[in-house]
């Protein structure tokens, strides 16, 4: 089996960017799927509690950083009786190669899932070379 099985528990981020944050909330590493199609590289990240207003995608040179903030739910006059998950921010950074067209990155958020489409640059798209008969 080549597919790795991953822990289901949320993973705490290891001091992102080696700097401290001003916000005192937990930071999690979102779980991602990355796959490649002919035209693009698709990145899918699970970020429950995040919507299109609270997610940030920044591309700086070759570093693609995705971050999101999820506000913890709290209900008035209710007390937490049992808890399996914590709510916090999400942060993760990837190094991307030059083959990505940096001006053509699309991002959507639906049901707490962030989907990034990184289109490949024209020059690296595979071209079919016609062979001429001599």
């Amino acid at each position: 089996m080549s597919k790795e099985t991953k822990e289901l528990q949320k993973q705490s981020a290891q001091s992102p960017m080696e700097t401290e944050r001003t916000r005192n909330s937990k930071v999690y590493v979102p779980k991602v799927d990355i796959y490649e199609t002919k035209e693009a590289i698709i990145l899918v990240a699970d970020m429950p509690g995040v919507d299109e207003k609270s997610v940030d995608v920044v591309l700086d040179k070759n570093i693609l950083t995705i971050s999101g903030t999820a506000e913890p739910l709290s209900f008035k006059d209710y007390s937490i009786g049992y808890s399996e998950y914590d709510v916090g921010d999400y942060q993760r950074a990837f190094t991307i190669s030059d083959e990505v067209d940096k001006d053509k990155i699309e991002a959507t958020v639906k049901n707490g899932v962030l989907r990034l489409t990184l289109h490949k640059a024209e020059k690296v798209k595979a071209r079919k070379i016609a062979i001429k008969a001599a």
Binding site: L8, I34, Y82, G112
Partner: protein, 147 residues
């Protein structure tokens, strides 16, 4: 059999749950037919109120229409499915960390629930179920009569 009861506090490592997790992991390793996400999916939080409980679950990317919520007495069952990404011919994964497959969670609540009035909402990948306490299960106030 039943999931965690709500009166257990915090994130205590429970040997039984640990065993369940191990069993789930084993089942997953040896079955390729219907991928089952861990017994523990989705993670839930339970909020206790006077008249009802709120159960929230972190389940990003599920199809709310295919999600089934049922209540019998004081037992809540949530089941559903996370669909895998449909990769076409010639597409390949660089990295696959998200889990997919069917899931089912059973939770015992601290009281019987009025099944008619259960509400569920799915927003930003978080499922929220509000379960009001059944009328016949509510505590009755007994007045003391003085002679």
């Amino acid at each position: 059999m039943f999931g965690p009861t709500v009166w257990r506090f915090g994130r205590v490592t429970d040997p039984f749950r640990e065993m369940q997790r191990l069993q789930g992991e084993m089942n997953r390793l040896f079955s390729t037919v219907d991928p089952q996400i861990s017994q523990e999916y989705p993670p839930i939080n339970v909020w206790l109120g006077q008249e009802d409980v709120i159960v929230t679950a972190e389940a990003p990317g599920i199809d709310p229409a295919a999600c089934e919520i049922s209540v019998i007495g004081d037992t809540l069952t949530v089941s559903g499915k996370v669909d895998p990404e449909m990769l076409k011919e010639g597409e390949s994964y660089h990295r696959q960390e998200r889990s997919y497959g069917s899931f089912k969670r059973v939770l015992q609540l601290p009281f019987h629930v009025n099944a008619e009035k259960v509400e569920a909402k799915y927003e930003k990948g978080i499922l929220r179920i509000t379960l009001p306490r059944a009328e016949e299960d509510k505590p009755k106030k007994v007045s003391i009569q003085a002679d």
